[in-house]
């Protein structure tokens, strides 16, 4: 053991978060918890004053960006490219159409699945320049599908040399872990030892509801503009970063069992399909 293991659990971004570190300086976990809260306030589409809400409200006009939002939007464009368009931050109109208009603890609103249709490719909806961005009129973005993994990577960079940042199941393990063998992380039925690696899970079991005898969930397939009809319930992935793991888990889930394994064999370090 190279130092004391400290940890904190809290709720943020509608999910359970867990931060751990070995030999942390006093106050680091409090600082990290506040950092996550600050990021939630910046990126939530449910907060009318958030940066993302201001960008969505200004569709058609250029908007000044913070370095954080610029980085996350760039990650969204990268995710769209590496996933062949499956991980698409521009599905907000489809989310609104199925009634995901507010945090689900408040309940969904009226639904008209498919009303929005498939979105255009993200680079056609989102123009990104250094320090500013512009959405096409009528477009809107939701960063919920990529933000937690990206933020886990960013926070792990800042928190400590030997730490684990888990934001709603999307996590990055930095350093050798509490016993020097890597951070032991549950991945499906197994425990894997992660060192400078990320992991994430995507599934249709959470953030799901019934409306007019139709099961709806938040995972929109951009090929249809509707909730995915995948035959997989859950995909967990290990990759070089949490952001990468999140992107590949989501893409594999949308691909379904027939194509998920070959896709992940080319893109991931480990995975569990259910």
């Amino acid at each position: 053991m190279s130092g004391r293991l400290d940890q904190v659990r809290f709720e943020a971004m509608g999910a359970a978060c867990h931060l751990l570190g070995v030999g942390l300086e006093r106050g680091r976990l409090s600082w990290a918890t506040a950092w996550v809260a600050d990021m939630r306030d910046r990126f939530s589409r449910f907060e009318p004053d958030s940066e993302v809400s201001r960008l969505n409200a200004a569709a058609g006009r250029w908007v000044e960006l913070s370095a954080y939002l610029e980085g996350l939007l760039r990650a969204a464009l990268d995710a769209h490219e590496v996933s062949g368009g499956l991980v698409h931050a521009g599905v907000l109109p489809s989310m609104l159409a199925i009634g995901y208009t507010r945090p689900l603890r408040l309940g969904p609103t009226g639904a008209a699945p498919g009303a929005a249709g498939p979105p255009a490719p993200l680079p056609e909806l989102l123009e990104l320049r250094p320090g500013r961005a512009r959405l096409r009129p009528g477009a809107g973005i939701d960063l919920g599908g990529i933000a937690k993994g990206w933020l886990a990577d960013r926070l792990a960079e800042r928190l400590a040399d030997n730490c684990l940042v888990n934001l709603g199941g999307d996590l990055f393990a930095r350093g050798a872990g509490p016993d020097g063998e890597g951070w032991p992380v549950g991945l499906g039925p197994a425990t894997v030892l992660l060192r400078d690696q990320g992991a994430a899970t995507s599934g249709t079991g959470r953030r799901a509801w019934w409306q007019a005898e139709q099961r709806l969930h938040h995972l929109i397939d951009p090929r249809t503009g509707r909730p995915s009809a995948t035959d997989l319930a859950e995909v967990s992935v290990v990759a070089a970063t949490a952001a990468g793991a999140e992107v590949h888990a989501k893409a594999a889930l949308l691909l379904g069992s027939g194509q998920a394994a070959p896709y992940l064999a080319a893109n991931a370090l480990a995975w569990h399909l259910r």
Binding site: L5, Q7, G14, A15, A16, H18, L20, K148, L164, N166, G168, G169, D170, L171, G177, P178, E181, G182, W183, P184, V185, G186, L187, G188, P189, A190, T191, V192, L193, L194, Q197, A199, A200, T201, S202, G203, G205, R206, L232, E234, S236, V238, A245, S257, G258, A260, A261, P262, L264, A265, A266, A268, L269, A270, W271, H272, L273, R274
Partner: protein, 70 residues
Amino acid sequence: MRTLTLKVAATVVTAAAAIASAAHVGGHVKSASAPLHPGVVGSASAPGLALTPSVRTGEGVQPVTSTYVS
């Protein structure tokens, strides 16, 4: 006459190289069933768990946290 011969010869060589290259590329199309990198240690068939050599399992080790759907 000699110049014309050289031009014709150069054209023939260029055309032959182009045709041979096209034939080679057409016969070596990337196969979806070709071995993928990196080699997979565990089962790659869905559903289930698959590991590459980059990830070690901790037999009998209790996880400190897990990845999960949120």
